[in-house]
Amino acid sequence: MNCPMISLALQYLTGYASATDAASRYHVEWPPHPARLFMAMVAAWHETRPLGTDPQEADEAWRQEGAALRWLEELPPPALAVSDHDPRSVVEVFVPPNDMTGAKRTVVPAFRTNRQPRTFPRTRLHDDIAYFIWKDADPDPAIRVALERLSGKLIRVGHSSSLVRAWLPPAEEVPSPNWIAADPSVSFGIGARLSLRTCGPGTLEYLEAQYGAERNARFIELSDSIASFKGKARNEAKARFEEEFGLPWRPGLRPPEPIRPVISSTTTYCQPQPSGVNIYESWFDHNITIFSKFEGPNLGLESTWQILSALRGTILSVCDPVPEWASGHQASGAASESPHMALFPLGYVGSMHADGHLLGVALAFPRNISARERGRALGRLLYDADGTPQVIDLKLGKLGCWSIILEDRPSPPLALRPETWAGTSDTWASVTPVVLDRHPKTDPAKDRIGWKTEVAEIVADACQRIGLPVPIEIDIDKTSWHRGAPRSKPGPDGFPLVPQKPGGPLRPQIHVWLRFDSVVQGPVLLGAGRYRGYGLCKPWWKGERQ
């Protein structure tokens, strides 16, 4: 790298990183979030504050480190170069308490049965050095020296057992990053996405306020005064205490605890796109239209058909005339032979606690239909007379009534983001089952392997039918590869079968896992139910299978 840059290398000395995911104490955080690194540096800075008796140079050096932190927090989020990892299974450890009160307390260690469960997520790193890289950052020599010195003070990042060594490596030793902050003007990148906590201007001040060292010192000062004063002076001190801390003083009152800081600002990271990569696109345009549920009962993915049928009915009745690309029918009433608009459900799947409930629905359009044409056809449905998004009611029969509205929040839930469904990946797996375009001829009871092979061929055809190449690997199962998605067959926790035309056979439906020889741009909708939400696929990454 020849451009100006600064990098901080973090070596995990035990070979493990031990930091708890901010969202779940049963998961380890990896890669280390930039905000976590910043908080560790702030802690190191404050813990090494010179004392009044130290030489003036020490104080000056310390202030430079503070300036370096303020300079760092102004920078954009860093890129990361981090290795893969193998997390240890998370177990609950019971820690003997120390702050027992009450008549039943037991003090001898063997009798401390009221132990508190804790978890210490830990992960083994393939390479124990992680790099944080700020491109185009060119600090003053004084800032660079201060950052170097401050880095050397880091003891840990994460749990106290997550010992580290940190330094500023020369540019030629810094590897290329494998995680970069996603460009917000470009919705889609290749492969996985991560949401990492990052800091910005004002973070240092916020952390100091949350720690409350000054507040704690003031508490002790006033308490000591109250304890030592008498009479009027004591009463005045008590009044000052109550005014400053909002509660009356009494003996034994504990000083205010530091408030655990919460860094809620996050940055989406993606993997850099290798140059010259081939991106396959299907007939569906990646610019999808997303609706979030506005009101209505909590429904799961298994209600896909009812909800999308209601939405389709609403579109047909409100948007008059409805073009062939939206209705899927020619003027004669015959089925359209061209690709047409598809509706699909947006469910909560993939994460550890995903339960498949629906957050909204979406529309995918044929790539050849311009945004203007889409607007012309659907405008009356989506917007009121003032051009404001309006609520759309969907009557769902026995399921009740849903209302939906165009999603336009800056940071909606992941399931309501276009990149979740229309991003790029070389590996996809179904969320709703793929309805096979034809019935396999092989009897699975007699020739299971032959049947699987034939089903894979049908799935491959389905990919080609929407303009994608044949995948290099296909796997099928009745269980989805995405946690939270119902099984492919009717039954408890399963999808109902897609209703067929009168007299037509019920077609099998199956979950699929697909790997292509290059990245595919979503949305990926496959099989006979693709226009009504069945056969919806989502990018899949290693470790996601339940």
Binding site: T14, T53, D86, R88, V91, N98, F120, S161, N216
Partner: protein, 399 residues
């Protein structure tokens, strides 16, 4: 032949910019390579497992299953045990400070003996010590104990004087007068043992009764034991197994693992020690004194690891590990540069520690060589006696 770690190397490391001393030691089951070992089980009767990338014999990367054999917290307890044994056994008696609460003569249901700051879960800030008396005064209100209220990174002297091990293994005085902002010292020594290429085994549990007492011979439990039931329909009649007689059929369940080897990784963080300041009387600071105090703690940490290592690691029933080779410490100085390597045995580590202590003392930083002996308060004794009665009653109810 690697050089032996000496005081001058430790001093230079502490004063310089080196990040850590690190040791990666290979251990094998005491029963020999391939013998089964029993990892700790956690809630749900599970082991803590992971995959680890290793090179196979052809040099290709492959993943092997691994299992945690001894956690960071448990290893710290073992190192403290090793120091306590050395204090009791003589090599560190009169060398390393420790705080004791002596329960002997307290008229308890079961003797507790002595609990020290090396044995109490929360070290010097543990409730046991908090409820102890020093010359009749509650410990934390005594002259020695009250000093701990002022302990901080900038004033590690009070802890150094009476409980220096807390500065190595970590301590948080969150129940003291400063609450959450009470003395908090992060651990500087981290060690963990992992079994590599762990394959699950089975374990059996059974009892063959030499008296061949039959299950049909019912008994009635009583306060003093049991009496024979008149017949098996008598009210309260139970099987003799309820009073621990009779055969217990074998119960085959998953248990234990075989491993290729166990790896102990031990890291002593030097920046953690460099955080500590040691003011002398009158609040006077001297960088030489600070360096000397940090050197003592480094030596104490290394000694604890070396002594625990040489004792053999008796982690739990059927999990005794022995080192395959001597302990080798790397000094991590310049990133990217191969670290220098040193050896040091338990005896040599004790000598190094004594030298460091003497140097610190010559500069005015002294610690308490004799144990600080507390007596349990009457309330603590009463509480303990009552706890033992409750525990005994609970045990007899479940039998």
């Amino acid at each position: 032949m690697k050089p032996q770690l000496d005081l001058s190397t430790v001093k230079a490391a502490v004063r310089g910019k080196a990040a850590a001393f690190r040791c990666r030691a290979v251990l094998q089951p005491a029963g020999g390579e391939g013998d089964k070992v029993f990892p700790p089980t956690y809630a749900g009767a599970v082991y803590a497992q992971e995959e680890r990338r290793v090179r196979d014999q052809e040099g290709n990367w492959t993943s092997v299953p691994c299992v945690l054999l001894d956690s960071v917290q448990s290893q710290a307890n073992r190192f403290e045990e090793a120091l306590q044994q050395a204090i009791d056994g003589g090599s560190l008696a009169g060398v390393v400070p420790v705080i004791e609460v002596d329960f002997s003569g307290a008229n308890l249901l079961a003797e507790v003996g002595r609990v020290t700051s090396l044995e109490a879960p929360h070290r010097a800030s543990d409730a046991i010590l908090r409820d102890g008396l020093l010359d009749g005064v509650p410990f934390r209100q005594s002259v020695e104990g009250a000093k701990l209220d002022e302990a901080s990174l900038a004033n590690a002297t009070p802890l150094y004087e009476i409980c220096p091990t807390a500065l190595i293994f970590g301590i948080w005085d969150s129940t003291g007068p400063k609450g959450g902002l009470g003395a908090k010292f992060q651990r500087s020594l981290v060690s963990e043992i992992v079994g590599i290429n762990a394959k699950a085994g089975v374990k059996t549990g059974s009892r063959i009764d030499p008296l061949q007492i039959r299950a049909a011979a019912k008994v009635i439990k009583s306060k003093d034991g049991y009496v024979l039931a008149k017949d098996d329909k008598q009210k309260g009649a139970v099987s003799p197994s309820e009073v621990n007689h009779g055969n217990i059929p074998p119960d085959i369940s998953v248990g234990g693992v075989t491993i290729d080897l166990a790896e102990q990784t031990c890291v002593l963080s030097l920046p953690a020690l460099r955080r500590l300041r040691f003011p002398l009387a009158g609040g006077r600071f001297d960088p030489e004194v600070d360096a000397a105090g940090r050197t003592v703690l480094a030596a104490l940490a290394l000694a604890s690891a070396a002594l625990a290592f040489e004792n053999g690691l008796d982690l739990r029933s059927r999990c005794l590990l022995w080192p395959s080779e001597p302990m080798v410490w790397q000094l991590l100085e310049i990133p990217g540069k191969p670290p220098r390597e040193f050896t040091i045995g338990g005896e040599e580590a004790v000598i190094l520690l004594k030298q460091a202590v003497e140097e610190a003392e010559s500069l005015g930083l002294k610690w308490r060589r004799e144990p600080l002996r507390l007596t349990p308060s009457p309330q603590l004794v009463a509480l303990l006696r009552r706890s033992q009665e409750i525990a005994a009653a609970e045990t007899s109810e479940t039998e």
